[in-house]
Every structure is written in structure tokens, then in C-alpha cells.
């Protein structure tokens, strides 16, 4: 009897796993199929490295489908955001796990989880009304810029980074801090030499997930980055791949090259994410033995 149950359960799990994998493959296949017609019009090189994006036929005589600036902006803003979020987040996580009292922790954790639940429109809205205004006062033309987007994005990434890294740090602190104490070693030295390295693997995993979110994040970035087809500079405007797709998909004529080019941009985003995942995964394997 139990055996039958086990088998049924096992089969269910297999089926669900299969469904997940198949739908993922299906999505990628679909995007690829819709993307391919683009390359009847432009070469892959032109598409990836071209800077001219004039997708609508009829408006200009020779349309252009180069998304290099969008790719650059996506990577630029994500890396900048990660840099801000990781440096602040790691500090906060170390504070929460290793210095804060048990009581402060129980107060802070739900608060951080709450931050993670705020929809991105709200972050974008606050960014637009606060950050962009500040940048405008500081002399940035219109106030919209890559740095503003990176800051908004990093605030959005923070809760997740903080809560997952402080979880592992706390676990490792409970494991190793007293072992260090027993050797007469100072707390900070144990944290830096044992607890942080021991947590690195999980922190890197959290970073993979966070950068995925950063690259795909559309709304908040779109609201503060200015959306101009320019090569990104820290105080200049830029437009991310996700923004292009969100802004133009609604008006692109179905079946036009413009329409297919947007799918192709989506495919590029997926490929970049995949590459970054592989890269961090390799780094993780190299660092952690």
C-alpha cells in the first residue's frame, strides 16, 4: 500500500518537473521562432553592435535595428545597482547577523520582508518624485539618469540580498563564532576569516538571483532612466532592453520587423542572463571547495 503511494507521488513529482521544463523550453523556442525573422532584415552583428534604432518603416527611409546601446545600458545599470546593493547589503547583513541583538533581529526581519513585497511601480514612483528631483537640482539635465535608475534598482534588490545573506551569515555565526572565541580569537577576525568565507557560496547564489531580477526589471528602471537611445553614462540617459520591449511592444505592428526585433531583444536578454549565471556559477565553484 505504502509502496503504491510512494510510486504515485514519485510519478506526480516527475510530471510536474517535466511540465516546468517543457514550458521553459517552449517559451524559449517561441521567442526564438519569433526572433529569427529579424535577421532577414539585419545581420546578427548589425543587430548586436549597431547603434541605430529606427524600427518603424515609413517614418525614415532606411530603418535601423541596432540594440547595442540598450544592451550596454542594461548591463551598466544592473552592475552599478548590484555594486551599490551588495556593498550596502553585505554591511547590513553582517550587522544584523553578527552585531544586532536577537530582539532587534526579530523586529527587523519582518520589516525587510515587507520591503521586498512593495511593487516596483511604487519604487519607480518614489524614484521619480524624489531621486530624479534631486538629480535635477544637482544639475543633471531633466534629472533622469542611469545612476538614478541604479539607485532605485539597488534599493529594490536590497531586501532580498540582506535577508538571504544574513540568514546564512547567522547560521555560520552560530556554528563558528564560539569556536573562534574558544581559541581566543577576536570576533571581527573570526567574522572576516571564517564566517564570511563560509557564507560566500550562498551569498553568490543570492547575487545570481538578484542580478537576474535587476536585468529584467522594467517598470522602475523605465520610470527614472530617461529612455533615450544613447550609450549609457553615469549621469546620462539610457534605455534598457526590458524598457524598449515594454514601451514598444504595444505599438509594433504584428509581423513587422520591428515586432520581430523586439522578440530578438528579449532573446538577447535571456542569453545575457544565462551567460552571467554560468559565469557566477563558475566563480562559485572556483572559490568554494
Amino acid at each position: 500500500m505504502r509502496k503504491i503511494f510512494n510510486n504515485i507521488f514519485y510519478i506526480f513529482l516527475c510530471v510536474f518537473t517535466l511540465i516546468t521544463i517543457i514550458s521553459l523550453i517552449f517559451v524559449i523556442l517561441f521567442i526564438t521562432k519569433e526572433a529569427l525573422p529579424t535577421f532577414k532584415e539585419v545581420s546578427l552583428m548589425e543587430f548586436l553592435f549597431g547603434r541605430k534604432w529606427m524600427p518603424v518603416e515609413g517614418i525614415s527611409d532606411n530603418p535601423g535595428f541596432g540594440i547595442f546601446n540598450f544592451i550596454a545600458a542594461t548591463i551598466y545599470v544592473s552592475i552599478l545597482a548590484m555594486f551599490i546593493a551588495v556593498s550596502i547589503g553585505l554591511g547590513a547583513a553582517i550587522y544584523l547577523s553578527c552585531i544586532a541583538s536577537e530582539r532587534l533581529r526579530t523586529v527587523m526581519y519582518p520589516f525587510i520582508d515587507l520591503l521586498a513585497g512593495i511593487p516596483s511601480v511604487v519604487y519607480g514612483f518614489v524614484g521619480l518624485n524624489v531621486l530624479v528631483k534631486i538629480f535635477l537640482k544637482a544639475g543633471v539635465h531633466t534629472g533622469n539618469c542611469v545612476l538614478a535608475a541604479a539607485i532605485v534598482l539597488s534599493v529594490m534588490l536590497l531586501p532580498y540580498l540582506v535577508s538571504s545573506s544574513s540568514d546564512t551569515l547567522l547560521k555560520n555565526k552560530e556554528l563558528y563564532l564560539s569556536a573562534g572565541n574558544a581559541l581566543g580569537v577576536e570576533k571581527w577576525y573570526t567574522i572576516a576569516s571564517v564566517i564570511l568565507p563560509a557564507s560566500l557560496k550562498n551569498i553568490l547564489t543570492a547575487m545570481i538571483l538578484a542580478i537576474g531580477r535587476a536585468m529584467g526589471e522594467t517598470m522602475a528602471v523605465m520610470m527614472v532612466m530617461g529612455n533615450a537611445n544613447l550609450f549609457p553614462h553615469i549621469l546620462g540617459k539610457g534605455e534598457s532592453i526590458a524598457s524598449v520591449i515594454a514601451l514598444e511592444m504595444g505599438t509594433a505592428v504584428s509581423g513587422s520587423t520591428h515586432f520581430h526585433a523586439l522578440y530578438a531583444s528579449g532573446l538577447v536578454l535571456v542569453v545575457i542572463l544565462l551567460l552571467i549565471n554560468i559565469l557566477i556559477g563558475m566563480l562559485r565553484r572556483k572559490l568554494v571547495r
Partner: protein
């Protein structure tokens, strides 16, 4: 025959809860002293008081005196005390590094960066716990990949790298199988030539095999202490006898 470490009127409380009452004990040099007693009687607390690990617990309060080599520990820094008194935990917690890095950790922290000297320390301490011949080709392997018994011996060796005089062990064998336990016991009997050893154990048979001296605690009070042979043959206090019989039966 002197003692390396002794307590005088030691009392410990956690917040309002008083856990150890007025404990005066002497731990003879180069001997193994076992601390036995029912669960919750304060054995771990006593060990933690001896190397001041208890100061890491925010609401713990300690009164009374502890002397190491006749020096009141109040006159010593926390680091000095913890170097003189090594502590091995119930569950082995090697750092997630190689065996070599585990053993070189404390010496490096204390300023030794000389490669040959570090090599010598690592080899010497591993030999002391009888592990060197067993794993000498695997010193670069992660310490987490060894068996529980081997990990515990790595931890004992690591405690020795801080050059302590006293070694405290809190139920070091409770998560180990019979064979690993026997090896650790052998190791301790060998180590007592160089160190003063204090071991908390739940295993009366183990206390019998190892100890020169036994201390029996109950509800935070020292009920009885004495020479091991004497203690087990004819305990003076009724409660001790009950405890010993209770464990057997």
C-alpha cells in the same frame, strides 16, 4: 602535586536564574578530572565559566574567583585566559578549511607566519591526537570531509595549537560511535602527560575509564568530589550513589 586551575566560591546565574552555587574546586595538574551529573545541573556552565566563554552570553553573571597557576584570572586578559584554557565542544566544529588551515589558524592569528614553524606545529599537534599517520597525505583536504571522530580529533588538535595548559571537553564523544570514542579516550590518556584535562561526560563508564578525579554536580551544587577509584567504589553521599545506580539500572 599542584593544581593548574581552581575555583573559589564560583556562582553563575543567567538573568534571575541561579545555575551554579558557590563552587570551590581544584583541578590537579596533568590529571583527568571528570564532571558528571544529571542534565541541566550546570556542567556546561562550569566549563564555560572556566575559560570565560560565559562572558559571550549577555545575561550571564559570574561571581567568585578562578585561579590559573595561582594567578587570579581577573588579572588576565580574556585572550590570555582563552589561550591558557582550550575548549572542545560536544559537536565537532572544524572551520570549513583544509585540515592544515584549521591547525594553522590560531598560530597565524597570534602572529606566526613562518612556514616551517607552522608546518612543525601542524604535524606535532596532529601527532599528539594520533591523527598524523592516518591523514598525513590529506592535509590539504577540507576538514569537513573527515569522519565525525576524525573531525573531533582535528578540533582537539586545533585547541592545542593555541598552546593551552588546560583542556576542557564538553561531552566530546556524545555524537561518536564506540570505536571513535575509544580512540579519543586513548588520545586523552596520552595528552594528560602534557595538559590538565577536564571532561564533562554523561557516560559513567567513560568517566571510570578516564578519570583520576571525579566531581559530581546536582542542581548547581557540588555534591561530591574525590579520587576516581574511591568515588566509584564507595560514594560518600547518598545522592551520588543514587545517580550512579540510576545510570546503571
Amino acid at each position: 602535586m599542584g593544581e593548574t586551575i581552581k575555583t573559589e566560591g564560583l556562582s553563575v546565574s543567567y538573568g534571575k536564574k541561579s545555575v551554579l552555587h558557590n563552587i570551590s574546586l581544584e583541578f590537579p595538574k596533568n590529571r583527568i578530572t571528570s564532571i558528571i551529573g544529571p542534565s541541566g545541573c550546570g556542567k556546561t556552565t562550569l566549563l564555560m565559566a572556566l575559560d570565560e566563554m560565559i562572558k559571550e552570553i549577555p545575561d550571564a553573571r559570574v561571581t567568585g574567583n578562578i585561579y590559573i597557576d595561582d594567578v587570579n584570572t581577573e588579572a588576565l586578559s580574556m585572550e590570555e585566559i582563552r589561550r591558557k584554557v582550550g575548549l572542545v565542544f560536544q559537536k565537532p566544529v572544524p572551520f570549513p578549511f583544509s585540515v592544515y588551515d584549521n591547525l594553522a589558524y590560531a598560530p597565524k592569528y597570534y602572529g606566526n607566519h613562518d612556514k616551517t614553524s607552522l608546518n612543525r606545529i601542524v604535524i606535532e599537534k596532529l601527532q599528539m591526537v594520533g591523527l598524523y599517520d592516518e591523514i598525513k597525505d590529506e592535509l590539504k583536504k577540507s576538514a569537513l570531509k573527515f569522519s565525525g571522530g576524525q573531525q573531533q580529533r582535528i578540533c582537539i588538535a586545533r585547541a592545542l595549537t593555541a598552546e593551552p595548559e588546560v583542556l576542557l571537553l564538553d561531552e566530546p564523544c556524545s555524537s561518536l560511535d564506540v570505536k571513535s570514542t575509544a580512540i579519543i579516550e586513548e588520545t586523552l590518556l596520552r595528552l594528560k602527560e602534557k595538559y590538565t584535562i577536564i571532561i564533562v561526560t554523561h557516560n559513567i563508564a567513560q568517566a571510570k575509564r578516564l578519570s583520576d578525579k571525579v566531581v559530581f554536580l546536582k542542581d548547581g551544587l557540588k555534591i561530591e568530589e574525590g579520587d576516581a577509584k574511591e568515588f566509584f567504589r564507595s560514594p560518600k553521599e547518598e545522592e551520588t550513589g543514587e545517580f550512579l545506580r540510576g545510570i546503571y539500572g
